[in-house]
């Protein structure tokens, strides 16, 4: 997280934006993907597009909020502060915690840790500038999706959840070339319709279907499409 934050700070500076821009964004926006997208558009002199694209990309936080509402807390102070800490990683870590009693602590611990390291990273990136280098050289672009997969893996061992997730992931990947950033991921919500498909009972062994789950999430879409219908998870 520090390294990704550092590459954000360095990129914002390399675009020639004022020094306070990455700091302000990392503090008040605190959403990695939207920040990378927005600095690019801001640097290109298109602030309205930056706002619209960033908001579209962040629209997934609404369903995230519905999912973690009971975990964040019921007091207004907790809701107001806790909502700002909500990111993909925090939601993933929280839902990966099997003990409901400990989810609240996980949410706040991970949220505070990530907020701190993201802003620390941004500061480092601004200070070091070009010395940070491209995140690709360190393979950091592979670390984010792999970490997400590790976090949702326990949920994926549940049959219906796995069907919904694989259908949603396939829909998002297929929509990515044709829709603006943010919408394809929201399209994954259509994966919930996989629940209403007639289900085959028994037969499929747990391990076999888990392998399929991993493969379908990760293999290039052309392979998924060639081997089997994309929305047929099991």
């Amino acid at each position: 997280m520090i390294a990704v934050g550092a590459s954000f700070g360095a990129i914002a500076i390399s675009y020639g934006l004022p020094v306070w821009v990455p700091f302000l964004m990392s503090t008040v926006v605190f959403a990695g993907g939207a920040q990378f997208l927005a600095v690019g558009l801001l640097a290109a002199g298109n602030p309205i597009a930056a706002v619209l694209a960033g908001l579209l990309l962040n629209a997934r936080h609404l369903p995230f909020g519905l999912a973690v509402a009971g975990i964040v807390g019921t007091r207004w102070r907790d809701r107001l502060v806790g909502s700002h800490l909500m990111t993909d990683e925090v939601v993933a870590f929280t839902l990966a915690e099997p003990d409901p009693a400990r989810r609240r602590r996980t949410y706040w611990l991970i949220g505070c840790t990530l907020f701190t390291s993201w802003n620390l990273g941004t500061t480092l990136g601004v200070l070091l500038g070009g010395a940070v280098g491209e995140p690709e050289v360190l393979g950091l672009d592979a670390a984010f999706p792999a970490g997400l997969i590790a976090l949702i893996m326990p949920s994926l061992r549940d049959g219906p959840t796995r069907r919904v997730a694989i259908a949603g992931a396939a829909i998002a990947v297929l929509l990515t070339p044709v829709l603006p950033a943010g919408l394809p991921v929201l399209g994954a919500l259509l994966g919930l319709f996989a629940l209403y498909r007639p289900r085959r009972r028994g037969g499929a062994d747990q391990d076999g279907s888990a392998v399929e789950a991993v493969e379908a999430v990760e293999s290039p879409p052309r392979r998924v499409g060639a081997d089997r219908p994309t929305e047929e998870p099991c």
């Binding site: 008040v28 999912a67 909502s83 592979a142």
Partner: protein, 102 residues
């Protein structure tokens, strides 16, 4: 203009974050719908992982990144610790790029 754009983006993002948290109380959700919420969150996260692993903008992401993620995913499936998954994925992608794989 720059500061206005950033503040509007921040306010909108915060509104969507808080919106879900606050609306949850106001909505009378049926039991199946309540059970679907964590599934919806998992589907969104899976979609993020899949698009981040496979796509670079509107194009495919090359070979190094999907391979790194595949290695990480297999380790996660074999219940390897989180840190091992993340480091193995990054190291695989970095080494492949070092070897000249796109």
């Amino acid at each position: 203009m720059l500061i206005a754009a950033i503040l509007v983006l921040a306010a909108g993002t915060y509104a969507m974050r808080l919106g879900g948290v606050v609306l949850r109380d106001r909505l009378e959700l049926s039991a199946p719908l309540q059970a679907a919420l964590p599934m919806a969150a998992t589907a969104l996260l899976a979609a993020l992982a899949a698009t981040a692993a496979l796509m670079a903008g509107a194009d495919l992401a090359g070979v190094a990144r999907p391979t790194g993620v595949l290695v990480g995913g297999l380790l996660a499936w074999r219940r390897a610790p989180f840190v091992v998954v993340v480091v193995a994925a990054a190291a695989t992608a970095a080494l492949l790029r070092l070897a000249g794989v796109p």
